[in-house]
């Protein structure tokens, strides 16, 4: 198994922002590809037991995306626009279609740490504290155990 440090999170008390940081045993280019290639993205975005279907995907500056996650027979659709796509940064909007008025602004940074490692930094700005609340609370029902089971299978299958 990898010895990657776990995700760190910070919920800003003054702005409806969630910031996260995670290091990966991969190059920024690989990380970028896992975020922009729809077939790869669908493999890991989850949630755990979900099968993710990409409905639309145009990972270019000014492009847009939409995918559908199926959890326990229920479909949840998400969509947004790629405001800017470049090798070291992606800026995009994010809407859960179940809450169609809510829109978050997400920024992802891919930082090269050298030696085949990189750091992913993300910042998600919700449009209100209530919006961030709903966001934090969402997906609580998704089975944590199912997620770990799926993870274990992927680790078993992969070249780890």
């Amino acid at each position: 198994m990898s010895t990657t440090a776990e995700t760190t999170i910070e919920a800003d008390p003054k702005l409806p922002i969630i910031r996260m940081t995670r290091e990966f045993a991969a190059t920024p280019g690989q990380l970028f590809r896992a975020h922009t290639d729809p077939a790869l993205f669908a493999r890991w975005v989850g949630p755990g037991a979900a099968s993710t279907r990409i409905d639309h995907w145009d990972a270019r500056t000014g492009g847009s995306w939409r995918y559908i996650a199926t959890v326990g027979g229920t479909e949840h659709a998400f969509r947004g626009c790629f405001h800017e796509v470049r090798p070291d940064r992606i800026v995009q909007t994010f809407t859960y279609e179940g809450e169609p008025d809510g829109v978050a602004l997400e920024t992802l940074w891919f930082e090269d740490l050298g030696g085949g490692r990189s750091r992913l930094r993300s910042q998600s700005l919700a449009d209100s504290f209530e919006g961030r609340d709903a966001w934090l609370a969402s997906g609580m029902e998704s089975g944590v155990n199912e997620g770990y089971a799926k993870l274990q299978r992927m680790v078993d299958d992969g070249a780890v």
Binding site: F24, L40, V45, A137, S142, V160
Partner: protein
Amino acid sequence: MGAMATDTLSRVFAALADPTRRDIVARLAEGDATVGQLAGPYSMTLQAVYKHLRVLEDAGLVSRPPGPQPRPVRLETEVLTQMEIWIERYRQRAEQRYRRLDALLATMSPIDDKDGADDVNDRRDDHRG
């Protein structure tokens, strides 16, 4: 966790959406204070401060235990702890997602070829339980 916890969290976030109320919470984190002491630095009426305190009380963030006047305002850390639990669960979901990404990245070649991950068996439809 259920609807009740969600409502509590909504009220907490709504209460903390206001800069004055965030400031009151920050100052109460250093110790109990009377309404008069809290109002000191602000250029607003005592009534306005009471209004803010009522919102914080409704969210369960502060309390004013009964006693002789002036009753001190106290920060209720239990609700903040609940928020931290929700944030930690959110973090754990992200960590699960990133572990799936770890496994995927391990199958990709560092060279930017387009089919580096084709050898991964697709087990997405393999549901359990």
